[in-house]
Each structure stands twice: as structure tokens, then as C-alpha cells.
Amino acid sequence: MSTVDATDVLDTVGLATATPDEAQPYAELGLRDDEYAKIRAILGRRPTRSELAMYSIMWSEHCSYKSSRVHFRHFAEKSPKTDRLLAGIGENAGVIRVTDEIAVSFKVESHNHPSFVEPHQGAATGIGGIVRDILAMGARPIAVMDPLRFGSATHPDTKRVLPGVVGGISQYGNSLGLPNIGGEIVFDPCYQGNPLVNALCLGVLPVSRLQTMAASGIGNVVVLLGAKTGRDGIGGVSVLASATFEEGTESARPSVQVGDPFTEKLLIESCLEMYDASLVTGIQDLGGAGLTCALSETAAAAKLGMHVDLERVPLREASMSPHEVLASESQERMLLIVEPSKLEDVFAVADKWGVLATAIGEVTEAGDDGGRLVVDWHGHTVVDCPPGSLADDGPVYQRPMREPADRDLVAVDRAETLPRPGTPDELRETLLDMLASPNLCDKTWVTEQYDHYVRGNTVLAQPEDAGVIRIDESSGVGVAISTDGNGRYAKLDPYAGAQLALAEAYRNVGVTGANPIAVTDCLNFGSPEDPEVMWQFAEAVRGLADGCAELGIPVTGGNVSFYNQTGLVAIHPTPVVGVLGVLDDVNRRLSSGFRTDGDIVMLLGD
């Protein structure tokens, strides 16, 4: 380390003010000219390297929902009135009251791209991420589900991806002690270069234990809990590490996040113990956007400021620079807001479970401008910005939309034109072909790798239409959940396709004897910059919102995954819909299948 290049100089707020004209790699970080200009306007100067990293992350499609947000008004406007919803869209996960004392939290999320790069770790950390979302609401995670989509069952790459994904879900979920109570495995060539790994988690909490992400209380301490921070997944942001931006390409290769379910289990137990002792004022999980997201969202939610001494963050690699610490996607971490008087107790609980807990900052005043997020690195200020500008004021786009040109073409190919089995032999043949097809055949070889029994409350799991979990042993109250989605239907008609997915999940929950009350969704689509994909997306959202209004159940949260495509070819639009229902007494659940000889078989509906 003899040559002094730009990377050795700490880019502080002072330096940024003094060098307004320094060229910055905003385009490489995915920011448009007008977005960069807006950041400069917000700050009244050029952003520091750390700030640029933070804005590029928070204003990305993944975090800002810049393409999808305008369409979500359908959910808000059409949402049926209910007094069951304790937390909804905008929170880490929806929370629904089940009885006067008990609530559940549930949400489905995607981890599609990481799972293609490294199937095992990608899927494992997908489970880890959704579990922390549920934990952040104050709930004990009690079950998971895994709606999956792969390419052709006979393609060699499916041989790599599928066992890896299933192995990762199995390892992580089993190690956390979460029964897997359902999911989907669908094969279709459209997912060959872009498999879908969606993960759902269900949690249960006493209504009184509901947590908030708001970093309220001036003087309260900001505590980082869990794993050390390393250079995990800081992909695009590493272009900042190079002196000349062209040099960045090699180091820009993201480092794969490796999941540590053991640490996550300890994180769960320590957080729950802290909630029960009322030690936590606010809490937020660290997900894809790491500290950047957790710091800005917690501060913005409280409309206060925050001061962080970033060098206090425990690091796996000492050489990390501040923007890397802020952007790191290291797993198994939570951010807590704690009253100073409770800090020792928080440390004691963390210590009991063998989890690292470190005070890294404090909540500061709002001032005239709603508070500042100030991040220091060894005493030098590297970030000074309004937290709301990161968390809430990201760009919002009304992307152009166009009905796909091939819709008429696809529609011409009607099912009626397919050959039909005519003779009993042909009928038999067709039935056997169907039973043997990868999408319909027995899935035990996968589901056997998942624990169904742990915690002893699984009432129904695979191969039932919906998973059923007892949530209260004394009263027998339980919930049923099913996830469904059909990309082929949605490709033909995204509006109806989304509704069919909703209807199927709704029926699946209904047939267990449960009363459906809430919806979560994971919307898997191609590039939002493709007007035809955007049209599919808008139609699916409208269809889902209308369907929910019709059925009288609200969408409580979910996730959007865009850019699911190989080259220019998008996957089938794949809205995955999860429906949750309540059973007042799980002893009265119904399972599928014929039970008694001589029972009458009836067909309901048309």
C-alpha cells in the first residue's frame, strides 16, 4: 500500500463540499442523470461516496418500488374495511388479529436472483430474510412455505438449481426449527434462466407485543445485534472502491451471502426474550439493503435524526471502508432502538444467547428539517442527509405500458383444438401421462427433506391443499395458509390470472374448514422498463385488488420482484398469492382425500 490513490482518501462531507466537480460513478450504480441531480439538490452538494452508495441502494427498484408504487393504490383504495389489520402495507410484514389476545404475521418474499447464482445459499438466505421480517414485527416465526418455479425438469441446469434450492431451504428452515407446511414446485421452460424462489413465513404474537420500526425517543441508543459485518453481496457498490471506475469491473463481482441459521436461531430467541421484557423501543431487520436501509427507515419512521459511529460496527474484515459497511448484506443482523436505562439488560440477554450486541449510535433531534442521519467514521462525517430522502422520497415512475403484441396470437391457440382421448385406453394413457408429469407427480422427494413436525403444532402439511398450524394449545385456535400462482394463466390474461391464483389459494384454505381473512403476494415479473411487462404487472395488481375487494379480504403485504428474465425474454408473469384463514378449533379441520368406503362423492360449483 504505497501508492496513494482516490480509494485511500476518506470521502467526507467536508471533502464533498470542497470538491463539487469530482466525477462520480452514479450511472454504474444504476442511478439516472435526473436521479443524481435530485440527490445533489437534496444535499446542496455532491454526495460523498458513502451517501452515493446509500442513495443508489435505497432508490433502486428493489427498495424504492419506483415502478410498482403507483399501482399499489389499487390495494389501498379497494382494500375492504377490517379491524383485524394491526399492521399492513408499509411495515415489515402484515399483522392480523386472530383473537382478542393473539395475532399472526405473515408475508411472502422472493430471492430469485441470488438463488440462480448460488442455489443453496441463495435459497437459504431467502428463508433467513423473510424470517427476520416476521421477527421484526414482534412475532415468533412458527412456519415457512416455499413456492418454487424451475425450468424444464429434464434440463441439465435444473439438476444444479433444484437440489441446491431445496437443500438450502431444508438446511436453513430445519435448523431454525420451523416446520415447512406447504409450497409449490412448478416446472416450465420460461424459468430456465431465472428460477423463482419465493419464501413465506408465518409468525404468532400476543397482540400487546407488536413492535414498530420507528427509532423514537431522542437519546435512545441504536444497537446492532447479530453477526459481524463482512463484504457480503456488496456487488454494484464495489465500483466505488476503485480509483478509476473502469477498474471496478473485477471487484464489482458480488460476494455471495452465506447463511448461518444457527446465529439466526439465537437472534430469534434473544429478540423474543427482549420483547417479552419490554427492552426494545424499535426494531428493524437488516435485509438486502443492510444498515443503509435499517438506519434510514427507522429514523424516517420516527421523523427524527440519528447519529452513528460506524467504526463501532463489528467487522469480519478490518479493511472495509464505510460505504462497504453501509452497503453490506451480511445476514443474521437486526437493528434495535433501546432506552439508555435498558441497555445493560439488552446486552445481558444477547450475552446469554451468545449473540453480539453493539451500541453504534443514538437517536437525535428533529430540528427544523425533520432530523438528519449523520454517520461518522473515526470522527469524520461521511454521511449527513435527511433520512426520509432515502427511505420515502425515492423516485416514482409512471412507466409506459402496452398490451403485449402476441396476446391475440397466444389466445388463438385454444384448448378446444387439442386432441381429446376418445377410447378408454386413450383415457387411461392420458391419465397416466398426467400423473407422471413433473408438475403433477408426487413431490415427496422434496417435501421429505423438510421438517414438518417441529414445535408440535402442525395439523396439516404436505400433501394437503393448505398447511394448518395450531397457534394456541389451550383453545385450539389455528390458521391455514396456501400459496398459489399460475404463470401460464397469467400470461394469457394477467388480470384473470392473478384472480385465479387468489381464488385457488382461497379455496385451498376454505376446504380445510378455515375462514379466509388476509392475503400476501409476491409479484414475479420481467423488466418494468419493458412496456409489455409493465402492462402485465398493472393488470395483475388490478386483478388481485379487485378480487380481494370482491372476497372482502385485504392484501396485508408482499413483495415485488422485477427483472426476472433471460436476455430480453421475460418469464411468464407470475403473481404468487398467499391466503391465510382462521380455524376456531383445529380439531375440526378437514383433510383431503376419500376417507370411508361408500361415502358419496359430490361436485360443488360448475
Binding site: Q171, S175, V454, R455
Partner: protein, 227 residues
Amino acid sequence: MSARVGVVTFPGSLDDVDAARAIRLAGATPVSLWHDDSALRGVNAVVLPGGFSYGDYLRCGAIARFSAVMETVADAASAGLPVLGICNGFQILCESHLLPGALTRNRHMHFRNRPQAMRVENVDTAWTADFTAEQRVVVPVKNGEGCYVADEKTLDTLEAENRVVFRYVDGNPNGSQRDIAGVTNAAGNVVGLMPHPEHAVEALTGPSTDGLGVFTSVLAHLGATTR
């Protein structure tokens, strides 16, 4: 006063809640024990539950063996305290050399979870007295490293001394030698098995209620020894 049965929680234990429920349903009082605390809190028996203690890192049960509580458990076990190790608990007992043999990676290399039939081969242990000889029971098996191995001499000794307590029937789920699902020490107070009796205690949630017998057995055993 009903018997007090301790359930140890290690970092990464998962089935401790299930074991406690099973103990309750069998009519005893579950008492939680903490890995880092050597106190046994006056319990009459101990269950080492399933799970992934210390993430199952390095080798299942290898790190848990060095916990404070295991020292006391080992001493108490040699003095006759009934100790049951289920799945990860069985692995810990083997790593601690309280039971012979070792649990290795399943032959098919997958985690496998299914209802599993076994035969109760020895009804004279502290944990099997309530079963009838050769009784067939069905309880869930769920593990990735449940393949029981030991050298031939050890296996022969186990057979000769009737220390194979449970044997898989209708298929061996993990490749265990001689279809061994569970074994006991020479005194019959320490038993380890891979399948999960604590997951078969309620008709609503288990494949059967056969597992309850393990927990009622120890109560019968304790009743007989304290009388």
C-alpha cells in the same frame, strides 16, 4: 408430587418445547435446564432434545458435549439418573461417550422426514418399560445424520447384551447398521434414539400417539424405584 423431568436447552435446540409437552401429557412436570448451568434443579430424569445444537457445526453434538450441564448429566447418569437423548440428544450422548457408536451422514445424504415404524427390542430400560416386547410403533424420523455406526465388536456386544432398544422395520431411513434406531447403556438408564417419540403424542399432530409410551415408561420406572 409428580416427577420432575428436565429438558436441556442448548443453543440451537429445537424440540425442547415438544419434549416438554410430551412430559406434561405423560403426567410429569417438565423442568427447563440450561446448557450453561450445571444445576440439575432436582429433576428425576433428563431429556436431551432434538435440534441443531451449535448449528450441528463440525459434527452433530460435538460442541454441545462440552457444555456445563453435560458434565453434571454425565455424572448423574453414571449414578443411575434416567437420561433420554432424542436425535441431536442421541448424537450428544454418543459424542460424550455415554453411549457407544456414532451417528454419521445418512447413506442417501439427504435430510429425511417421514413417519417411521420401529420395533421395541428391549422393554427393560428406564424409557421402555411401558411397551410390550417386540411392539411395533410409528413415530416421525427426521435427520440428516442419523446413520448409526460402530465397529463390529461393539455391534455384537450390543446385540449380545440386548442393548439395541429400537430397530427400524419396514425400511431403514438412513442406512444405520443392523437397522439400529436406538441403543442403551449397560445399566439401561441411558437411552438414545434417532426417531422422535415427542412428535407422536397427540393424534392431531403426530402420525400416532405411540411416542407417549417413552415418557410414561420413565414415570413408571421412577415410581418403581422410589417406592
